[in-house]
Symmetry: C2
Subunit: 422 residues, 2 copies
């Protein structure tokens, strides 16, 4: 995994922790992220990501990028300021209520993208002339905007949010179905790498399509949705569209029973059919020499939403708990203030050695009480805390505390390096 | 330099070159970038960046990021959807004509950021309480939006564009001046790494401030501005605000003479004084224990603009010419179609060896005529073309053509590897 290896001294980091979240912030994820200095709230549903939050987002994005590249996705950066014309062409300008409308002083109308079908379809049309150019999958990671009536759930459902959106083009329905399976596996790999337990569920198509869609749900007590899943096979369905109930026998396998769980949506796939290629009169030659409208798919993963789900899933009473793969740093090096200069120089040495080995370290080199440092460390949620103090100096081993489990070990610097670079 | 090492087979790349640019596209940079498939035009002043264009942007961004990190800049991602309130607080909502105004269906007013003083000042205010927290430099790389009456110059002046914007906070004017020098050197290093010759000029402050500002100008025949610069010392001034003319003696050094040149602006620095900290009532304790308004600076580099300037500066009659540091790939491996399967397997071997050595390669493995392949290769502008053909097979050496100079060399694979990894 590509992990940002640059280490930071906490005395140089401009953010600080705070005791209280803003009163108007009701969601657990935003409360904790604000208190820990990961995000700054601009208004309901809009947040800025400060250095620690940016690092988490980048780690999530890199995992998503690697898995999209692995299935042949080609990364682009589409415009986010859109002319109104293609939105009128697809009807979304008037029918989709979350489309922001901008009237320019030139009297031209624009929107800021809440999705990119209106942009990507003409791009596909520009380059695809034959089935030989298909299948094609184009994706990007960038900002999306939705004119939500009420923004709630902190960073999990915003008026502005970061999303990976991929669009695929296919000659036939069979080819779409084949690619759907490939993309589904890539999605499940993403969630697994993030330390989450996810299931692909069948759901209703939503605003975009009348067809069935697929949602990816992370099982978490903090979930907003109710799902039924088979205890034996991968079958899973959003309770909203299920005709079955908890305890029923699974209809997809022999011997499975349906269990109920709360879950959070962390991705979706829409079979767009030929809706957009028809709207834009986008055709290409198929194998039989006929001009056909390619079938499109839309594959979304909310990056900021995923960050929120990770917070909700793992955080405990003391604060954030980051899975190793997305943590802003791998090690929180906590130096306890001491009259002995040796403690500081020992901490500096650990900082140097770990950083040189490519391990990202946040070094708490601030002049503060031990209790404050430990409370901050718990709140920040970095996976491994390494404590340097007069006590550890005399022992020759450092106290290493695993944030998630609370497990304590004592390791020498070489044991620590061995553990972290294994 | 951190270069994306992943190589691509051209037959898999969804973009293709085209003979003609759209008729409404008058700028050289956009014409070439569209013809070569680097960008897709959405409307005047708004472009999507396709895989090749995205790679160039990422390389520019990484160079900028490294130099901003080196001077202590802390990277964040600020919101781009802004509530109108802070814009009204600073007066910009009504006084800055390029501010896009969005009226939501909730009747709340928003804008999409054309600059981020309205967002970053409250963030600074949240965390800075004392001179001990200063100086502070916060930066981001992201999208900006301007409601331009006329968008021209292709990707060099858009309604949407990518920018690195850094904001600094200082206790005293002396400290701002000191940081300005540090940032100026970092800027000049960025341009040098991009292969450009840049100068820091004095200019008028523009919309943001009545104070003097600094512009960074790249000397290029395609430039939109006229500057006077000393042929002996670093002095340089925008002709608009100069009281001197070409041929005059330099007033900043002994023996220098002012020369005139056309140039393109590729960065700027504004001394914002206490305008924004006063507007937001942001104070902190200074060394004497008094509450003072910190002094702010704004440091911009247009990323997409820089890409346009690079195109304008280096492109020739045959197409794009990328400096090594920003090219989408380091090597364009051109396999000439042959009846001999050996040519293809030899090309595959070169592709594998270079890629494994961390060198990014675009491999033209398409079934096309040599003339078409060479014309495409010239248009794409990748620094080094390596040709594999029946002729090179029998010689045991590959024809290597440097795009910028046209220089031709013949190298074995090990000589090539030695050259590229040196």
């Amino acid at each position: 995994m590509k992990h940002s290896s640059n280490s930071v001294r906490q005395s140089q980091l401009f953010t600080k922790t705070r005791k209280e979240a803003p009163k108007d912030e009701v969601s657990k994820n935003a409360q904790l992220l604000i208190r820990a200095g990961y995000v700054h709230k601009e208004m309901a549903g809009v947040y800025s990501y400060l250095p620690l939050g940016r690092r988490v987002l980048e780690h999530i994005e890199q995992i998503v990028r690697e898995e999209m590249d692995a299935i042949g996705g080609q990364e682009v950066r589409m415009a986010t300021l859109h002319p109104s014309e293609p939105w009128k062409q697809t009807g979304a300008w008037d029918s989709v209520d979350v489309v922001f409308k901008i009237v320019s002083r030139t009297e031209k109308e624009y929107t800021v993208g809440q999705s990119e079908e209106e942009i990507v379809t003409p791009i596909g049309q520009e380059y695809v002339t034959s089935y030989k150019d298909l299948p094609l999958a184009i994706y990007q990671i960038g900002q999306k905007y939705r004119d939500e009536l009420r923004a709630k759930s902190g960073i999990m459902r915003g008026r502005e949010f970061t999303m990976k959106d991929m669009y695929s083009f296919h000659e036939t329905q069979e080819d779409f179905d084949k690619f759907y399976q490939v993309a589904k596996d890539a999605y499940l790999k993403v969630y697994e790498r993030l330390g989450l337990v996810a299931k692909a569920t069948e759901a209703s198509g939503g605003a975009f399509t009348k067809k069935l869609s697929y949602e990816f749900m992370v099982l978490t007590d903090a979930g907003e949705d109710d799902i039924l899943y088979c205890d034996k096979c991968p079958y899973c369905v959003n309770i909203e569209i299920s005709t079955q109930k908890e305890g029923d026998a699974c209809t997809r396998c022999v011997g499975g029973t349906l269990a109920r769980a709360t879950a959070s949506e962390v991705g979706n796939i829409f079979d767009l059919g030929t809706k957009y290629t028809t709207d834009f009169n986008f055709t290409c030659k198929n194998r039989e020499g006929q001009e056909v409208h390619p079938i499109m798919g839309c594959f979304g993963i909310g990056i900021t939403r995923l960050m929120g789900v990770i917070v909700e899933t793992f955080a405990d009473a003391k604060g954030l708990v980051w899975p190793e793969a997305v943590a802003p740093f791998r090690v929180h090096l906590v130096e306890l203030t001491s009259d002995s200069a040796d403690v500081h120089s020992e901490a500096a040495e650990v900082y140097r050695e770990l950083s040189e080995a490519g391990i990202s370290v946040l070094w708490d080199d601030r002049d503060a009480r031990a209790g404050e440092k430990f409370a901050d460390s718990d709140l920040l949620g970095i996976p491994l805390r390494v404590v340097v103090s007069e006590k550890t100096l005399s022992a020759g081993k450092f106290e290493c505390v695993h944030r998630a489990s609370g497990r304590v070990e004592h390791k020498s610097i070489s044991e620590l390096l061995g553990h972290l670079t294994a």
